[in-house]
Symmetry: C2
Subunit: 479 residues, 2 copies
């Protein structure tokens, strides 16, 4: 027990070393484990249950917009990967190659999918013939592999889980509409479900997806002031369609190329939850995504009637539709509190002999530690209310943190000073040329995060070269 | 349209050519498609939606027994695969090898998981220390790869989707209990959800899983009299634990090896649904697994009020909790009927101007073509009843078919005659030695399917060698 207790207490504070704090939380909330497979992770039950809730909610939102799920092969023949020039250049350096099947060498080597545009294109080229076959609005849930050099659980690993949507449309307008629609699905999902506020915008050409005409992104800000690209939606125009010969006979009987999109969100969002909401006691899960929302913790459990009442409370909360557990293990209440806090369970209910005598229990919020003494009869309703309030407060707190760490730069010196001393987003004007983007990375260590849809005219000239500015851009250091 | 119509009509009859019938149904019900990746398949929306329902229901049943989901890497380093001798012998000849990551050769090659015992063992060896860490009852949903030479959609393909449960227990008894428990989950799932009756039993040593102490199986019979292994549950004893060093400190402070199990069910169950329930009009889906349970098909749709009423009907059925669609496309009703039948949608509701005038609609069952004229006010309730009845009837019909194709052999001549002329299961006594099993395969072309839990004493001697029999065995040709 002494050893176990140490495990929970030995968490690095985030002010001292944010990276180590992150690693500690991931490990001590039992989200992942290391494996013998370098750069890959084991996602443990507590981590996977979060992913299941993300999947379930995203999938529901996708299907409301007409998305259908499919499954395509995990291997891509090299000749297929090479069909779209920009795409292969972007991905070939970081794929894993299968060269042997059983005891024999393959005639053509295949890579484990790093993303499946080429497979979907190959499929669509066979499956789409007429305007009546359009649109195709398909998605798949799967794992992909990118041979990263340095890895961190959830944030960057050689294998990760995601969904990848791939659509084909008759017109460029419809493809653009779908691209934006899915970006909005991601943004709403992040804000409403994960309590993570996002900036919606477009990637610069330098930062866009290999093979895309336009990449849209939602960017969020972590507690340490670094940005996290949280979901992307790409409009391919007809580039892939031309490379793969995906044509349809239109109503006027002429052959036309389809217009395509793709969009993805990954297990890195679990990393975002940790880094946006966590604190020095561990994980803090927004109630909507939390696998367990309420932990009932009995005090003086051995006393007559305490455990019975705790079970009653659990049953009543479950009946009210809450995801609730009872910790009746042989540990001290204090230890159970620490554990519940480390695991980020949004609310605990403390219940001891004195509470029972007074016909009450104590609801304790994970985020604020606020305590609410509540009559037992009102417990299910009050707990539900506390969870709702907490969900909203977490979003507002994250938004306030982001806004407080969003800076405006009007001169290059100011820009560099912020980049060096004030972790967060920097808003600054840009002329639109990649040279300035490269120079800002070189000199200030930041990349362009996005050209936000909501523009501000901070000044008329590019922060770097002084030429006329075309866009206001969010810049920052990023995961 | 003419061309489309031909597509539906051109289905081979199952009596003429069962294999071609199967291929036709898979293609024309739009369950899968071929790809440029040899031996792999695209699972299209109609096929994947069936898998989603299977997943959802199985996962629910698993969780009721305490199963937790996790995710482990898709690659296995060669040295890890080799740790358990029998296991590597069984799988090494049929795995795909990754030899390069990015532009560089790997120091050690890795295979794409054909199954994940070795990865779970590696994980458990790190994660299990004390009796307090036990049991571990984990499962993962993923895809696996086995380099098969000949492939068929769902039944045998190089990549397939499945779940694989992997558990670790303190005692041999507990492991055996879990092995049987999960076999029972599979059996109940098949019968109650897929309407597929199964024989529960144990595999002979020859047919058991590579590395297992005992393999249990559920075997089902397809319409053509061939068997399909439908789910397996393995007890590994402490063999893997010894090979991987998975030990725990027991209450008495001594180190002990854990006892392990694994169990899996795959997308081949979609093949089973097709081959147990399908007919010469296409797929027939049991109502519980059907993504769409009811198709409302309006007759004389252009007439005033028909489409409105059809929409009303759809809304009322959906409100009653049924999965319902309305086919309001510009096709003839006859064409829509064929399409609904080909896709195996369990019930259609026909609704024309005369029906509306009479305040009624016609419920048509997919399996029996029975028509039930029903007052509109009773439609939701009656449709739900028809679906329930159909689900039960499908199971009973499949059971009757299986029983009618289960034969008892008392002599070797009889055995060979049945094997040659009467497709189905053969029940016959066996001495327990592999020589006789090999000989029966060689001479009669059948394999042992299982040693059923429910034994019958058909005779006292082995059907092949005449020595004393130890067990009654189900034999048959299998997919």
């Amino acid at each position: 027990m002494a050893k176990d207790k140490k495990l929970v207490e030995a968490i690095t504070s985030m002010e001292e070393d944010f990276a180590q704090w992150y690693t500690d939380v991931v490990k001590k909330a039992e989200l992942t484990d290391y494996t013998s497979v370098k750069g890959c992770m084991v996602i443990k039950p507590a981590g996977y249950a979060i992913w299941e809730n993300i999947q379930h909610e995203l999938d529901r939102r996708f299907k409301e917009t007409g998305v259908e799920n499919v499954y395509l092969p995990m291997l891509i023949p090299e000749s297929l990967l090479q069909k779209e020039k920009d795409h292969v250049e972007g991905f070939a350096p970081e794929v894993a190659w299968v060269t042997h099947g059983g005891l024999e060498p393959l005639q053509e080597r295949m890579c484990v999918r790093p993303t499946s545009e080429t497979l979907f294109c190959d499929f669509y080229a066979n499956d789409i013939h007429s305007y009546r076959d359009l649109p195709k609005v398909y998605n798949q849930w799967c794992s992909v592999m990118r041979w990263e050099k340095t890895t961190r659980p959830f944030l960057r690993s050689r294998e990760f889980l995601w969904q990848e949507g791939h659509t084909a449309h008759a017109t460029a307008e419809e493809a653009e509409e779908r691209t934006i629609q899915m970006l909005n699905v991601y943004a709403d999902f992040c804000e409403e479900f994960l309590a993570i506020p996002v900036i919606k915008g477009r990637k610069t050409d330098k930062e866009k997806f290999a093979g895309a005409e336009a990449t849209y992104t939602i960017e969020s800000l972590m507690h340490d002031g670094k940005a996290l690209q949280s979901g992307t939606s790409h409009n391919f125009g007809d580039g892939f369609a031309k490379a793969f010969g995906i044509q349809y006979a239109d109503k006027d009987n002429t052959l036309k190329y389809v217009h395509q999109t793709s969009w993805g969100m990954t297990t890195r969002m679990i990393g975002a939850i940790i880094m946006v909401h966590g604190d020095n006691s561990g994980l803090v899960l927004p109630p909507r995504v939390a696998p367990t929302q309420v932990m009932v913790i009995p005090i003086q459990m051995q006393k007559d009637g305490v455990l019975d009442k705790a079970n009653e409370v659990k049953t009543a909360l479950a009946a009210a539709g809450l995801r609730v557990k009872l910790d009746d293990s042989e540990k001290s209440p204090g230890w159970k509190f620490s554990e519940q806090e480390m695991r980020g369970i949004p609310v605990r209910i403390e219940l001891g002999p004195k509470d029972i005598e007074a016909g009450q229990a104590v609801i304790v919020r994970r985020d604020t530690r606020e305590k609410l003494v509540t009559p037992l009869s009102e417990l299910p309703q009050k707990t539900a209310e506390v969870l709702e309030t907490m969900q909203k407060d977490m979003l507002e707190r994250a938004r306030a943190h982001r806004d407080a760490h969003t800076y405006t730069a009007r001169t290059l010196d100011e820009f560099k000073d912020i980049a060096e001393n004030k972790p967060g987003f920097i808003k600054a004007m840009w002329c639109g040329c990649q040279e300035c983007e490269d120079a800002l990375k070189e000199e200030a260590g930041v990349t362009s995060r996005c050209i936000p849809f909501v523009q501000e005219q901070i000044s008329d000239t590019c922060i770097y070269c002084g030429k006329p500015a075309t866009k206001m851009v969010y810049w920052g250091k990023a995961y």
